[in-house]
Amino acid sequence: MSVWKNEKFWLVMAGAVGSAIAKKILKAPKTRECAVKGLAQGMKFTADAKAAFQDMKDEAADICNDAKKEAEAK
């Protein structure tokens, strides 16, 4: 049987070509740029989430403080 008709041969070849392309993509500056942007966005998201959470905690603390003052005044 001709090697060209062997299914396994084509699978191996496809795998090799796929690996080579994947390696190229991974090493491409564009990929790196996307990864850095993604990470930065992740970090920004975390920082924003932390800020939003802290805002909420602060506001809750202020509300509690007002309630306490009101109760003391009565």
Binding site: K50, A51, A52, F53, Q54, D55, D58, E59
Partner: protein
């Protein structure tokens, strides 16, 4: 700084500068800058949202706003975070971590598909299993092995929900433990910080008293017997025996000669040295003390050590229970239920948390306890022994009268006495110095180097003549100074029940100083309260006269008193009581009390005690109120009751869970949930303040 005011009420204002206004590392210096302003009462700083909350004196709103507007973070000096900031940071960190843990557990289900969650769970579970295997490899059948086995078994059974619950609860317990310990450490560090206000600096051969904060690197600081070395440095002159127990845990004093290093916080037992300053004291030394408290097995409460041993000792039985259940029921689910429940982690976690919380509570109430062991001893003691002077009596004994002899005047005797005594931190010495100041008598340094003969008195040379001052025993018996019959009669008549300090110059009695020493206002009540809280025997030891001791004992309702006790014999009385089977608390303040303090089961130094007494004592009171002793007794007793109650609850609750698991009433995941929830609940309860009786 640019900001928005997001909250504004009289006395409280909140600024918000946004998420990237400053970094986490800038928080301490901003906090320090804020609290350094005289009108700011409290500051809370958060880098997450650039928030600054300030509580201020009413009427200072504009100043506060101006201050924040002009805040230039780059120009602020670096500063060590203060205790308030550290505690705030710990609280905030704990809350954030807890919120993150809870969010991760419950939100992960929304964002990630089940297979990814399973892989992540197995990865985390393997860490617990590896930890358990490590312990097993070291030959220890500990709680970690049990945790690893329970998690491993759940994963093998594909019961991922159970495994996840166990890991989540274990992590929360561990976070809670770390938080409590860190908070207690911080509170203890603040309470143990070196508190030396003034030091003697040698300038051009003369000793000058300067404030501690004015001491510079390279200065020469003189430290005498009984005083704490306030700086790190090198001995430049003299030699002394230095007690370095706070640094090394070694109670034997070390001989320090010229060129040797000495460290802040250690105490000169005997001798006098001049230290060339290498560094002024920071928190490094204190950190070492805390580590000593934390790590030293000797300082752990024996109930704590017993609990830890018991916790590990129970682990094999849990495995035995697992094996037997599997054998009898042939049901792996029921057998795993046994592994899910154990007594050990609850006991092992709740006991140290209870002890540490009680230590922190004591620190918050101005009592520094140097280890759980001493709280336990304080709860178990049945006898309390007080030193009289400066402990039971007022912290400020008063100079009543000066009786001069020979051709000397009252003023001359008092001036000389004050000049010699001013170097030593004892309440009697302070009474003489204060007495001279009240009478407007100035005294200059006219004497040569003074030598402190521990607990007896002081000797020096004055105009070429030997001058000694101290107790009758020291001046008359040791120094062989003659007291004539007429002189003795005069002393007896005029001194009454007052304590008498003898001054001799050039081999002759120059005069005596009568010091009245009334009991503290709250002393009688403190003794009554101690009796109510289980102290059966109250004793007093004093070097003072029989007459003075009897009067105080009668006034305060003291069972036994020992008068005219030589300082070196004080500890013998304590040892005798211990030999009679009593558990003794010794309360003292002077250098002479140090051996007795060391001999007692647990010792307490008063707030104005000499440095060496404070170093030797297991407990230091920072207020001058003797009722704090009764409060400490209540606190320690309640701690013991709490530990026992926790123990009873843990055994009863977990036994019920084991039985329910054995009979198949509860599924392993429910057992794990209930077990871990109960552990967390008991830990959280152990952190709550102990109620005062």
């Amino acid at each position: 700084m640019k900001f928005k005011i997001v909250y504004d009420q009289p006395g409280r204002i909140r600024f918000r500068a946004g998420a990237y206004a400053f970094e986490k590392m800038h928080e301490p210096r901003i906090h320090m800058a804020c609290v350094s302003e005289p009108y700011v009462q409290k500051a809370v700083v958060h880098s997450e949202n650039g928030g600054i909350l300030l509580e201020y004196e009413n009427g200072c709103r504009e100043q506060v706003i101006d201050f924040v507007r002009n805040l230039d973070i780059a120009s602020l000096p670096e500063s060590e975070p203060d205790t308030e900031y550290q505690l705030q940071a710990l609280d905030s960190d704990f809350k954030n971590k807890l919120a993150f843990m809870i969010a991760r557990r419950y939100l992960a289900k929304l964002f990630f598909p089940a297979p990814i969650r399973t892989v992540h769970l197995i990865y985390r579970g393997l860490k617990f299993v590896a930890k358990g295997l490590n312990c097993l490899g070291e030959g220890k059948l500990s709680v970690e092995v049990l945790d690893g086995a329970a998690i491993g078994a759940s994963i093998l059974q594909r019961n991922y929900e159970s495994a996840g619950t166990i890991m989540f609860l274990l992590n929360v317990s561990s976070l809670l433990e770390d938080y409590t310990k860190a908070r207690t450490r911080t509170a203890l560090t603040a309470s143990l910080a070196v508190k030396v206000d003034n030091v003697w600096v040698v300038r051009d051969g003369v000793d000058v008293q300067v404030r501690m904060q004015d001491v510079q690197v390279g200065d020469l600081v003189r430290v005498r017997s009984g005083s704490m070395i306030p700086v790190d440095g090198t001995v430049a002159e003299g030699d002394a025996f230095v007690n370095e127990a706070t640094m090394t845990g070694e109670s034997q004093a070390v001989h320090k000669t010229v060129g040797k290093s000495v460290f802040a916080g250690t105490v000169v037992d005997e001798g006098s040295i001049v230290v060339s300053v290498r560094a002024v004291s920071g928190n490094t030394k204190i950190q070492k003390i805390i580590e000593l408290i934390d790590r030293s097995e000797d300082l752990k409460a024996s109930i704590q050590s017993r609990a830890e041993r018991l916790a590990d000792g129970i682990v094999p039985f849990s495995f035995l229970g697992f094996g037997l259940t599997l054998l009898f029921t042939r049901n792996i689910t029921k057998a795993v239920s046994i592994l899910m429940v154990d007594y050990s982690c609850a006991i092992k976690l709740s006991t140290p948390i209870s002890v540490i919380s009680a230590l922190r509570e004591a620190a918050d109430r101005n009592m520094t306890v140097k280890g759980g062991k001493y709280l336990e001893e304080f709860a178990l003691a049945d006898t309390i022994v007080f030193d009289k002077t400066g402990t039971l009596t007022k912290a400020e004994p008063k100079l009543e009268r000066v009786i001069p002899f020979g051709d000397r005047s009252e003023e001359e005797v008092l001036r000389t006495a004050a000049c010699i005594e001013e170097h030593f931190p004892h309440s009697m010495a302070r009474a003489i110095v204060r007495g001279a100041a009240e009478r407007g008598i100035d005294h200059e340094e006219e004497h040569a180097d003074v030598k402190y003969i521990v607990a007896h008195g002081i000797a020096t040379t004055l105009d070429g003549e030997r001058a000694v001052i101290g107790s009758k025993h020291f001046v008359v018996e040791d120094e062989k100074i003659a007291v004539g019959e007429a002189e003795q009669k005069k002393i007896d008549e005029l001194a009454g029940a007052a304590s008498v300090i003898y001054l001799a110059i050039g081999g002759n009695l120059a005069g005596v100083l009568c010091i009245s020493d009334p009991p503290r206002d709250e002393a009688a009540e403190a003794i009554r309260m101690l009796r109510e809280r289980g102290i059966k025997h109250v004793a007093m030891i004093t070097g003072d006269s029989q007459k003075a001791a009897e009067r105080i004992a009668q006034l305060l309702g003291i069972d036994t008193f020992f008068a005219q006790v030589l300082p070196e014999d004080k500890h013998r009385y304590v040892e005798k009581m211990k030999a009679e089977g009593r558990r003794v608390i010794m309360v003292g303040d002077g250098i002479n009390d140090a051996p007795a303090l060391a001999a007692a089961n647990v010792s307490v130094a008063m707030s104005d005690a000499s440095d060496i007494a404070r170093e030797t004592a297991d407990v230091t009171l920072r207020s001058e109120d003797l009722r704090d002793l009764a409060e400490l007794r209540a606190l320690s007793t309640q701690l013991m009751e709490r530990i026992q109650a926790n123990y009873r609850f843990i055994v009863a609750f977990n036994t019920s869970l084991l039985a329910a698991g054995f009979f198949g009433i509860l599924a392993p995941s429910t057992s794990a949930l209930l077990h871990n929830l109960s552990t967390m609940a008991i830990c959280a309860k152990s952190m709550t303040p102990l109620k005062q009786a």
